[in-house]
């Protein structure tokens, strides 16, 4: 999932007819213009709770703006530093609302969410204070939904009309940009009408091939995760010391659970996927070895990925890497005899039974 930054999202909002403040993106203090009115400086960081950490400041002129930027630069936002800033008009806010379009897995449809309790994390708002309208993608947003949303938010007249345009815009963003979330929080009711004061747009990874212009981002990922992602591998860093490679997401999660239940500390999730190329196995072991402290557990249930392929990869990887950690290999399924033979010939033990393999891994990790 790619999360767009506030200013990127606001540009998209503008394109889709959603009212946003006139804003300027500031990269360096030099870019701050002269002004003499109430404005706001906002850190552009891909993480929530920015305001509480001091990332949003009211300023009245160039000098105050530059000072604010310098101060914000010092702040750590959950591991991120602000490199860009939005400078925009500070509105007189009558009310902060919330509105978004996102997928609801349970109804298997996009839903419109709206709440009069904007400006806070929507997860903290009680369900009865959130309007939730499923949208059929064959139909899109309808007028009656817009009317219902306006009534729910207590808007009428021009504001209700603007809300309708905003909802249509958000849904078009969701649909046309393959967004998993298109959110305005807060949607401010000001003396000048409704204005989107913040933006959150997340684009689904699987659909990025349709959106070559969307910047690929690795927010919230550590270095090895980024490295894996660039290689198209599915890797998640955990906190333990036992490296794990398994084929298939479910088997991987189950392997982590078994190790943890047996008292071991998994270091990662790592889905080898389906492959018939020993090189991919070598690559995987190389990557996993970066997080493996004591034991690397390779757990394969052969299907598309055959056990002999994995065995060949393991043998070559061990020769190349000559790792310090211990290795436990469990292979079952397609070509398991051949796989076991290959491993055996190269002095690598393999275990057929999963429970036994897990016991062995945890035992070795405890030594």
């Amino acid at each position: 999932m790619v999360d767009l930054l506030e200013h990127e999202g606001k540009r998209i909002f503008r394109k889709y007819g959603i009212p946003v403040p006139v804003f300027r993106v500031i990269r360096s203090e030099k870019e701050v213009p002269d002004f003499n009115e109430k404005m706001v400086i906002k850190a552009q960081v891909p993480t929530g709770g920015r305001g509480k950490k001091g990332g949003v400041k009211i300023v009245n002129n160039r000098e105050e703006a530059i000072r604010a930027i310098q101060e914000i630069r010092q702040i750590d936002f959950n591991g991120y530093r602000a490199r860009r800033f939005i400078l925009e008009k500070a509105y007189d806010i009558k009310k902060e609302l919330y509105v978004s379009i996102t997928l609801d897995r349970s109804v298997e449809l996009p839903v419109l969410l709206a709440s009069a309790e904007g400006g806070v994390d929507i997860n903290s708002v009680p369900a009865e204070k959130i309007l939730k309208k499923p949208i059929n993608p064959f139909i899109g947003v309808t007028d009656y939904m817009k009317r219902e949303a306006a009534a729910f938010l207590g808007l009428d007249g021009e504001n209700a009309k603007t809300l309708g345009k905003i909802i249509s815009g958000l849904y078009r963003i969701y649909d046309e940009l393959d967004a998993s979330l298109a959110e305005i929080n807060p949607l401010a009711l000001t003396s000048e009408g409704l204005v989107a004061l913040d933006s959150k747009i997340s684009i689904e990874d699987d659909a990025l091939f349709r959106h070559p212009d969307v910047p690929v981002r690795y927010f919230g990922m550590d270095k090895i995760e980024v490295e894996a992602k660039k290689k198209g591998l599915s890797f998640v860093r955990l906190e333990g010391d036992i490296g794990i490679i398994a084929n298939g997401a479910g088997l991987n999660m189950a392997t982590i659970d078994l190790i943890a239940q047996a008292g071991g500390k998994p270091a990662n999730f790592f889905d080898l996927g389906g492959t018939d190329d020993p090189q991919k196995v070598i690559q995987a072991i190389e990557l996993a070895s970066k997080v493996t402290n004591k034991v690397l557990f390779v757990n394969i249930f052969g299907g598309v990925t055959r056990c002999d392929t994995v065995a060949n990869g393991i043998v070559q990887a061990i020769k190349q890497l000559n790792p310090k950690f211990k290795l436990v290999v469990r292979i079952r399924g397609a070509n398991e005899e051949e796989g076991r033979r290959i491993l055996n010939e190269n002095g690598i033990d393999s275990i057929l039974n999963l429970d036994e393999a897990v016991r062995r891994v945890v035992e070795l990790a405890g030594e």
Binding site: P137, L238, A249, G250, L251, G274, R332
Partner: protein, 291 residues
């Protein structure tokens, strides 16, 4: 009589049959005993894959072979079109193996299938195997054994692991269905459980869930209200960190929703035995069946 795939002679085509995966699994399905009557790859009509005739379009394949089911191996950017082509050609059961289909496309495909009276299984799953009948998908042929257990799973290899365990225990399976690891899947866990409940041959149901979404919680509700057969569940991802996508697009804990704990609790409250490891599953089934 198994579920979803109940006819030994069900004529099946493979879309994307000339690809690496498509050709391999077409032959594997044939080896299993599936009546693979043709394949489709636009532009490759008139050729064949291991004796299976290849057609340019699903319509041609259906006209020539009478196919009523399809297994889709077409790459993600082209898969939605392939599925629509299949549905429009009158295919009633479309098993999508393809991974990484955007959920936006699946939302629409699922509605389209409903509109047209077709059923989708998958995507991003291993398909369906009805033991002794036919296999539509990529599950290894060797792990099955005819028996009384219906298995529904969000996973691929974990399903193989569990099915293998069930088979080795002396039990066996009616139908194994991998519904797929995505956020939106054509056939849900809830539907599969309902089908198993109605199937005479199935005496016990195994549900293999994982973190993310609320399918397990909703399945537990259904089990509580509608299911008389013993159910054993396994949930993967008990130790998965929140906010991280664990391989499957659908396997993610968002906020405090979609945790393994929530699912396990829901199942337990519905009287489902939750196994803590795959090897425990056949033990629990046997207990429940009094074997």
């Amino acid at each position: 009589m198994a579920i979803l795939v109940t006819e030994k002679d069900l004529p099946v085509i493979v879309q994307g049959i000339t690809g690496h995966q498509g050709s391999f699994h077409a032959m594997q399905m044939k080896a299993f005993g599936t009546n693979v009557v043709g394949g489709v790859t636009p532009g490759k009509g008139g050729t064949d894959v291991g004796g299976i005739p290849v057609f340019d379009s699903v319509k041609q394949a259906v006209n020539k072979t009478g196919a009523r089911a399809s297994v889709v191996f077409v790459p993600a950017p082209y898969a939605p079109d392939a599925v629509i082509e299949a549905i429009d050609a009158g295919i009633q059961l479309v098993v999508i193996i393809t991974e990484h289909i955007p959920f936006h496309d699946m939302t629409k495909l699922k509605l389209y299938a409903k509109l047209m009276g077709a059923r989708i299984v998958g995507p991003n799953g291993p398909g369906i195997t009805s033991v002794g009948i036919a296999k539509l998908g990529i599950m290894p042929n060797s792990i099955f054994r005819k028996g009384p257990v219906g298995v529904v799973s969000r996973s691929g290899t974990l399903t193989y692991e569990i099915v293998n365990t069930i088979s080795e225990s002396g039990l066996g399976e009616t139908t194994v269905i991998g519904i797929g690891g995505d956020q939106i899947v054509g056939t849900t866990m809830q539907e599969a459980v309902r089908m198993f409940e109605k199937d005479d041959e199935t005496k016990a149901i195994v549900v293999v869930g994982e973190i993310g979404g609320t399918a397990e919680e909703e399945t537990a509700e259904i089990i509580k209200k509608e299911v008389s057969k013993p159910v054993v569940a396994f949930i993967a991802g008990r130790f998965a960190p929140p906010g991280k996508r664990m391989g499957h697009a659908g396997a993610i804990i968002t906020g405090n929703r979609g945790t393994a704990q929530s699912k396990i609790q829901a199942f337990q409250e519905a009287g489902v035995s939750v196994a803590s490891r795959p090897s425990e599953i056949p033990v629990l089934i046997k207990q429940k069946l009094g074997l």
